[in-house]
């Protein structure tokens, strides 16, 4: 395996790992929080709820 492929493979395994939905959870949690803050809402509760929701989905369907 070339060094470049090994580099990208490492980062894919590191960020995405066994379940891509958890990487999506991280993007969704921070993205939706940013939108809530932009809309002048107290967005602190958004990320924990989204993360817990995705984790529940992934664990119960595993």
């Amino acid at each position: 395996m070339s060094a470049v492929r090994a580099f990208f493979r490492f980062w894919y395994d590191f960020v995405v790992g066994d379940d891509w939905r958890l990487a999506l959870a991280a993007v969704a949690a921070l993205g939706l929080t940013a939108l809530a803050v932009e809309a002048s809402l107290a967005g602190w509760w958004v990320a924990p709820i989204v993360v817990a929701g995705f984790l529940t989905l992934v664990v119960l369907r595993a």
Binding site: L22, A25, L30, W44
Partner: protein, 245 residues
């Protein structure tokens, strides 16, 4: 409070990864001799130190909010993987990480590979280098992430170094795989801390004002711990009811 949690998270994460690396190193060293293995470990540690030394200060050049967004995302994605696996293991849905079995498999594999007499054992070198380097990369990331966002790279490095020394001393004394280390419990705890810090820093980077400021981290750890405990209970109950039918 923040510093204590950061040091604890770095120490435990490093210890967990180093236990895995130690299993590989011991299996190869006992089977094939220690010369090439020692060299493999030394080269891997130098490479890891170079990565931390170069990447750590470079990342601090980024604006703090950008740094926190990137690191918050990575901690969330990485921590959620650890937490998912720890929950499924605690619920019995997937097998526990068995260091004894991995040790036996590594020894059998190492014994089956030949080496020319008086030649340098590249197989043992490569295996020990990969074991230490790949497990160490995750630790290096945690050290850089926690160190940079907390403006204290040295403290993270000291915590990781302390964990490394502890695991090596215990490994030399035991001279076998550290199968009695409660690895899943440690991974559970680190997973919770990574996800909590990822949420906190990621949130701060997009403009969230956390109630209670830094104390919100404890609230996040508690919330995620409760969620994880509920998920373990639900998975266990589901397994029990399936076994009963």
């Amino acid at each position: 409070m923040n510093t204590v949690v950061l040091v604890a998270a770095t120490f435990v994460a490093c210890a967990v990864e180093m236990v895995e690396a130690l299993t590989i190193v011991l299996a190869v060293g006992i089977t094939r001799g220690w010369h090439a293995v020692r060299l493999g470990i030394a080269v891997a540690l130098v490479a890891l130190a170079a990565i931390v030394a170069v990447l750590g200060p470079t990342l601090t050049l980024l604006p703090l909010d950008t740094l926190r967004l990137v690191i918050g995302f990575l901690l969330l994605a990485f921590g959620l993987q650890w937490l998912r696996k720890a929950i499924l293991r605690a619920a019995g849905a997937i097998p526990m990480h068995d260091e004894e079995q991995i040790f036996r498999e590594e020894m059998a594999e190492a014994s089956s590979q030949g080496v020319a007499r008086d030649a340098f054992d590249w197989y043992a070198f490569t295996l020990s280098f990969k074991g230490v380097f790949l497990e160490g990369l995750e630790v290096a990331f945690i050290v850089i992430a926690f160190g940079d966002t907390h403006h204290n790279l040295a403290l993270g490095t000291i915590a990781a170094g302390a964990a490394l020394v502890t695991v090596v001393i215990v490994g030399v004394v035991v001279h076998g795989p550290l199968s009695r280390v409660p690895e899943n419990t440690l991974k559970f705890a680190v997973g919770l801390m990574l996800v909590a810090y990822g949420t906190f820093w990621g949130g701060e980077s997009v403009g969230v004002e956390w109630p209670g400021s830094d104390l919100a981290i404890l609230g996040l750890i508690g919330f995620y711990a409760l969620t994880a405990a509920c998920l373990v209970a639900v998975r266990r109950r589901r397994a029990t009811s399936l076994a009963g039918t």
